[in-house]
Symmetry: C2
Subunit: 121 residues, 2 copies
DNA sequence: TCCTGACATAGACAAACATCGATGTCCTGC
DNA sequence: GCAGGACATCGATGTTTGTCTATGTCAGGA
């Protein structure tokens, strides 16, 4: 069973990775988020959604450029939503996906040796 | 010679993920590097090595804090070296590992919505 | 030369994962 | 109410991956 109703994004737990040793829990947490984006299909999904007009896209916009079936794309999108990287907005029959603002930036912050300012728009 | 006979390790291939759609090849490439760090043990290895005195550590320094066997740690280190994130320096009987300068920062750059200056000067 | 200690490699195994076809759920139009 | 379309979920399957034990390699000392 998948953890439904994620509490929130473990997306960027803490201090930069290289500043101090991660404890086991923090490492597991961060790894889980990284696993979410460590997949070609999901990277392309993030990229396609970001580049799509209005910064949002529905499943039907995404299956064709990826060359994957609708259930597979839906699965990948769920992984990204669960990881706190995508936001899902169901409007009528369609489900529109957008990037969660700052999520990827927070992740980048943890990897970077130096904390950086979030561009904020 | 190339490090470890690896073809190459484009740790950070290109433009920020959210700027334009990734093509399939670039996505596969980036995903491979992300997979290398999308593991709790390997995240802790990076962290432990960075925090170790002199910024370097040998295998014997790393097995105990991780609670994994020596071959498993050796395996994880190899994955990180192959991904271009760690550098291995064999001195006598010991193998010392250090972070490849800028590698994680480059990765962070790709994830970040905005390119940032690499601190390593 | 042989032995010991540090590390790498090989092989095996179980868990996790990506993908698919089939099916279920929900909204909209007739 | 009924049909159709968009999306989610289910169950199955082949592949990848993390971990172990056993073994190989190599340097340094007795």
């Amino acid at each position: 069973m998948t953890r439904a109703g994620l509490p929130l994004v473990n997306v960027a737990c803490c201090a930069p990775l290289v500043r101090e040793p991660l404890d086991a829990d923090a490492a597991t947490d961060l790894a889980q988020t990284l696993k979410a984006i460590a997949d070609p299909a999901r990277l392309r999904l993030l990229s396609l959604i970001a580049a799509h007009e209005g910064g949002e896209a529905c499943v039907c916009d995404l299956t064709e450029p990826l060359g994957l079936t609708q259930p597979t794309v839906s699965h990948h999108l769920k992984v990204l939503v669960d990881a706190g990287l995508l936001h899902r907005d169901k409007r009528g029959v369609w489900a529109y996906f957008t990037l969660v603002p700052g999520a990827l930036d927070s992740l980048a912050n943890v990897l970077s040796s130096r904390g950086m300012a979030v561009p904020a728009g």
